[in-house]
């Protein structure tokens, strides 16, 4: 089809920019995964510094999406793409923010006496990293099977979080002098869990682009999160 070449080019450019943003977000995740076990404050600081780059990428893509809405009045699959892009970049940006949040705690931990780290962190980090990688891959290739896996992976991260909470609770009881470190680790676990949730959001937007149906309603998600919350009461 020869029509709308400029429009198609604009859509392709946005697609490429989101892919670039996704790669930058993955790099920040890789950096915190390396910085975390070593409590590497220098590498953690780099993650925080590079967060501005990701923020600018989000703003640039958002502006392009708004321009395309105003200029081209997209419909059908074009509209699904633009609407999803605008939500996805928000989730990607939040994942990057969470990387920065974790970096803050890595820097704090680097200044405190070392304590034993719950083993589940390893699995949580790697699963979350794989989720983000899969969602970005599924977005770029349109392979929604990858996006489907993300929901099951989110359950693994949630279970890891439960396990970390229990383990840290016991450690605080047994070793109250180092409560500050344990609370910092608890915060890190919560941010990993949130990053996995954002990744699941992106997967549902990829599915919306391809299939035209939202995978999980906000009501369902709210109920799911409420049930998780009740678990800790």
């Amino acid at each position: 089809m020869a029509n709308r070449t400029e429009y198609d080019a604009e859509l392709r450019e946005i697609n490429v920019l989101i892919h670039e943003m996704g790669k930058e977000v993955k790099r920040s995740i890789d950096r915190i995964i390396h910085a975390f076990p070593e409590r590497d404050a220098k590498l953690a600081s780099e993650v925080m510094e590079r967060d501005d780059i990701i923020d600018k990428m989000e703003t640039d893509i958002e502006e392009r999406c708004i321009n395309i809405v105003v200029k081209q009045a997209p419909l059908a699959s074009d509209w699904r793409k633009i609407a999803s892009y605008m939500r996805m970049i928000g989730d990607l940006e939040r994942i990057a923010d969470n990387s920065s949040d974790i970096s803050i705690y890595i820097i704090k931990l680097s200044k405190l006496p070392e304590v034993e780290v719950p083993y589940e962190f390893h699995k949580m980090f790697l699963t979350m990293r794989e989720m983000v990688g899969n969602t970005i891959e599924s977005f770029f290739t349109g392979n929604i099977d990858l996006a489907k896996d993300v929901s099951a992976q989110d359950d693994i991260v949630d279970q890891g979080f439960d396990s970390v909470v229990k383990e840290i609770t016991e450690k605080i009881k047994a070793d109250p002098e180092n409560t500050e470190q344990y609370i910092n680790y608890l915060m890190v676990a919560k941010y990993i869990e949130r990053m996995a949730d954002h990744s699941e959001n992106i997967a549902s937007w990829v599915s919306f682009i391809v299939k035209g149906q939202l995978q999980m309603s906000y009501t369902d998600r709210y109920q799911k999160e409420s049930q998780q919350f009740q678990f800790y009461e």
Binding site: N3, R4, Y7, A73, P74, L75, A76, S77, R80, Q213
Partner: protein
């Protein structure tokens, strides 16, 4: 929701050329149905079959059935009765070269209403329903041709509803109007559908998306896809529909 009109296995030829191919389409009561498709796709031809406007076209041959509230309009209905029950507003406003009042009273007079008080009531009610009463109430005896394009089109809508049709056909009725007049007519359609059923043809995808409940996409004389407007414009099932509404139709 009940169907006020139904087309069953409708085929139409202009001479040798088949303009409609086995169309099956229900028109739901108190809904706005938008007919969309590229020029020459058969949407205007289909619309004209709903009030037998094609009867006047030389060489036109129709097979199949069109029902209005269960009555076959080609076999069991007088064409004048049909056109009272299924009114039409065209692309270009076409007021008669007479006063605003007489334009509205024309149809009711044709159908035997001559009482001045009754006609006054119909004129006022129709102009109010067409959202043009405030602009015309002090100039009812003025010639309608002195009105603006948007006013003339709303006058034509008022004229069409003066005979209280059940269905109102609107063939690109806002395509020649500025955005403000278009907005007024769109608002009017949303109000009118409470009392009437509207079938509209539009080339403006945003308009179809904004105001219609059901959208039907025609191509080369075939009905390609029909469904709730939200679904058609968010997630059309047919690739041709997708290409047309996203502007990639070659």
């Amino acid at each position: 929701m009940a169907n006020i009109m139904e087309a069953h296995n409708l085929n139409l030829w202009y001479g040798e050329h088949q303009a409609l191919k086995n169309i099956n389409l229900d028109i739901q009561e108190h809904k706005i149905t938008a007919l969309i498709g590229p020029s020459g796709c058969g949407k205007s031809t289909f619309m004209k079959t709903l009030n037998r406007m094609n009867d006047l076209v030389d060489g036109c041959r129709i097979e199949g059935d069109v029902f209005l509230n269960g009555t076959d309009i080609y076999k069991d209905m007088d064409v004048n009765i049909l056109r009272k029950r299924v009114g039409m507003v065209f692309q270009k406003a076409n007021p008669f070269p007479m006063s605003i009042y007489d334009n509205i009273a024309y149809g009711p007079r044709l159908h035997g209403i001559h009482n001045k008080a009754a006609l006054d009531e119909i004129v006022e009610r129709s102009l109010k329903q067409a959202a043009i009463w405030d602009e015309t109430k002090d100039r009812l005896k003025k010639n309608a041709l002195g009105m603006s394009g948007g006013q003339q089109q709303r006058l034509c809508i008022a004229r069409a509803i003066a005979v209280e049709p059940e269905v109102l056909l609107m063939d690109e009725s806002t395509s020649a109007l500025d955005p403000i007049s278009t907005g007024k007519i769109e608002e009017l359609c949303l109000e009118l559908k409470k009392k009437y059923t509207i079938v509209m043809i539009t080339h403006n995808m945003q308009q179809a998306n904004r105001i219609s409940d059901i959208t039907a996409f025609f191509l080369l004389g075939e009905l390609i896809e029909v469904g709730e407007t939200q679904n058609i414009f968010l997630n059309p099932k047919n690739k041709k529909t997708e290409e047309y509404i996203t502007g990639r139709f070659g």
